[in-house]
Symmetry: C2
């Protein structure tokens, strides 16, 4: 059934107030789609639908809802219902949700949860944002290394563990140290009396609670894992992170890089959820900085007024020089930023990269200058010396831009800054100023 | 054990030619790390190590190796060994590898594989690049809807299915149509005589062989799936795609967007694997186009020579205007490109987006213009009318840049182009030309 049809059916059931049928219909739909459908409901219908939802999926639907819809719901339902919801949610989802609530609401809600849940949630709330600890879930299967396959399968059946978790068996010793992992598929194809310890994966890969989510994502991606165990400072197992959450991390990190490369402060909410002043505020800092630095380029132009006055082609070529320089720099920096993000390039490669980029700059610059030289002679009837000055300046600008463009992101990474921050807008300004200086120096030398 | 220590141990075992111990050591290391270690080996040692590898992991290690290392290996080992390797690999990895080989080598290799494997691989080689068909693997568990849990677990144990595949049971009817999926964890917690059909997930989500990998990635991410079934045009089950492969797709799509936004032709290989001429060739087309379009900006400057001659501040403000316009446009376009990629914004939102961006432009522009106005009066001792002309031009440029920046990516998407292609370099050029026109019009009006 397609999405249009699903919506229509739900719409008409809502309208006719056929709540029994509606409940049945909702059981057949993916919780992600239910959350999607709820987006267009008003407060009253939202609450109605949410209360009709079968209890076992309402927590999951809740965890997929927009933050402002959750807010609407939370305002409308009582503390008791919220607490029930939280007890039903995966801990990581519950923590995400609580982080959105105002502090006093969190306190009120937590007072009503079971003491054990409360302790765990409080622990979670203390992990730094974007750390492995704040991402992980505690719903995983823990087994003693002494168990065999039969014991393990019986434990799974008895505890009825949840889906986030069952596909890797984590072996934990008496001091809760993680000693190894067994992929469930291995346990399913051997005789039932095989000790789990015999099936352990030879290489044990884990992350620490304080590791940044970027490290977690890189590790999971590198080793093609479905989930990764999280251990505390003493190597004790405390949770797992599953690959579906990693996908969201990857997109989040990429969005942040896109934003930084365009001189935007990272937004925490999707575009339409962000207020006008926040949207403007995210853009202003870099725009101001870059506007002020571009005054240098202006000052250079003012300083060489007399040179510019000699021939209008000298002024008219400024946009071409500045744009080409900016574009060349941005190309090089983008390649570096992606290379760093994907682990293909590192700071130690600087000289190798620089040498490559300078040669690429020469190749690209020669083509661009040749085209410009011919264009100036044929279309603009420029004198040969003038055409030469402009073309040679362009060549020098392109080479310089490639050099600056590849160096800055690597340097930024080296001194602990985000390479994406050193990207295009800043590079454009640097390249602008230096290309103008080159331009006027050459012009002064050869025309005056 | 950390990576440094692993390398040292392997290095010394290689040097001392302790091949038995080396083989033992390799069994303890993750195949991803073995492939990583092999990167630094020369041809001879590469071949040696590869032949020492236990057979059951050599295919996996091979699938993680660099393309040029695979080439080296393939040149050194015989067709028979290659064929054995291919028979051992997952079909999707084997196809990836074969796609890199020259056509006659593929033919030679395929002649030696089992007829059944050959037929499957040939089928795969016909799927379009980046389609679901080319991504999928055929190693998955297929069950008849009549089976119960006991039958299913017995089948798994008997066929010894591999890890890519076991965590979702795919129910396929006699005409090979996919009728439903059962998450393995559900089967493990119910009595063994429960019919599989009772455990089927209510919503069946699949993709078609010809769907683009971006669609696949979006679906898997949206529904938090570990794997997704792939069906052919008639709804028959033909394969699955697992979430670890989806992560690579997500990064690939992001890299492509980064490249396009910076005016780069998408590279197929990592930076250091790409030849100098290819690197230059990927950058030249857009640089040439953008250089030629920036001549328009130059022509506008030349046309208003007389205006510029009146006051050097008019020339000196050009970089500030052009840079601010370019940066504002890029900010807006980046937000749109990300919004489109993540499904948060669509073409139908154009008027809403435009209205938001124009208001953001007014807010941001007022701040920038105010700073500029004060700066011109205090630092540059500009006349009030001149300062006003420049500040008002800046305000108009910022608003226009926001408008162009948000509109182009949405329009591009609408007419079936990649929105990332419409991004910063093109927008910069457009904004440059129009901001200069605004600037000179205002200047002509109010100063002359």
């Amino acid at each position: 059934m397609d999405w249009e049809k699903i919506q229509e059916t739900l719409d008409s059931l809502m309208e006719q107030k056929r709540h029994g049928q509606l409940r049945g219909a909702l059981m057949m739909i993916n919780p992600v789609d239910i959350a999607e459908y709820m987006k267009k409901l008003d407060r009253e219908n939202l609450l109605l639908l949410f209360r009709i939802l079968p209890k076992d999926i309402s927590a999951e639907v809740f965890s997929y809802m927009d933050s402002d819809q959750r807010e609407t719901l939370v305002e409308s339902i009582g503390d008791k219902e919220i607490t029930a919801l939280i007890n039903e949610m995966f801990v990581d989802d519950a923590v995400d949700f609580l982080e959105e609530l105002p502090a006093n609401a969190v306190k009120r809600v937590l007072q009503n949860t079971a003491p054990q849940t409360r302790a765990i949630i409080n622990q979670f709330l203390q992990y730094p944002e974007n750390s492995a600890g704040s991402l992980m879930t505690i719903e995983y299967c823990e087994f003693s290394p002494e168990m065999n396959v039969r014991d393990a399968l019986r434990t799974i059946k008895e505890t009825g563990v949840d889906k986030e978790t069952v596909y890797t068996l984590y072996l934990v010793d008496q001091r809760r140290k993680l000693v190894g992992t067994v992929p469930l598929h291995k346990a399913l194809v051997v005789p039932e009396d095989t000790p789990l310890i015999k099936l352990v994966d030879p290489s044990l890969i884990s992350v620490s609670t304080l590791d940044d989510q970027e490290v977690v994502a890189d590790t999971v991606r590198k080793y093609h894992m479905l989930s990764i165990p999280v251990v505390d400072g003493e190597g004790r197992m405390v949770g797992i992170i599953t690959s579906d959450d990693i996908m969201d991390v990857i997109e989040e990190e990429n969005t942040e890089d896109f934003e930084k490369m365009s001189g935007l402060a990272p937004a925490e909410e999707p575009y339409f959820k962000t207020g006008l002043f926040k949207l403007a505020g995210n853009r202003l800092p870099w725009l101001l900085i870059l506007m002020l630095t571009s005054i240098f380029s202006g000052a250079i132009i003012a300083r060489f007024e007399s040179v510019l006055a000699m021939n209008i082609l000298l002024s008219a070529s400024i946009p071409m020089l500045m744009d080409s320089g900016g574009n060349c720099g941005q190309q090089a920096s983008t390649l570096m930023i992606r290379g760093l993000a994907l682990g293909e390039v590192k700071f130690g490669d600087l000289t190798r990269v620089l040498w490559t980029e300078v040669r690429v700059g020469v190749l690209v610059g020669l083509v661009l200058s040749a085209v410009t030289f011919v264009r100036l002679l044929l279309l603009n009837q420029a004198a040969v010396d003038l055409a030469l000055v402009i073309s040679v300046s362009l060549l020098a600008t392109v080479i310089l831009a490639k050099g600056i463009g590849c160096t800055l992101p690597l340097l930024a990474q080296r001194i602990g800054l985000d390479p994406a921050l050193a990207a295009s807008p800043l590079i454009t300004t640097l390249v602008d100023a230096s290309s103008l200086l080159i331009y006027f120096s050459i012009a002064t030398e050869f025309i005056l």
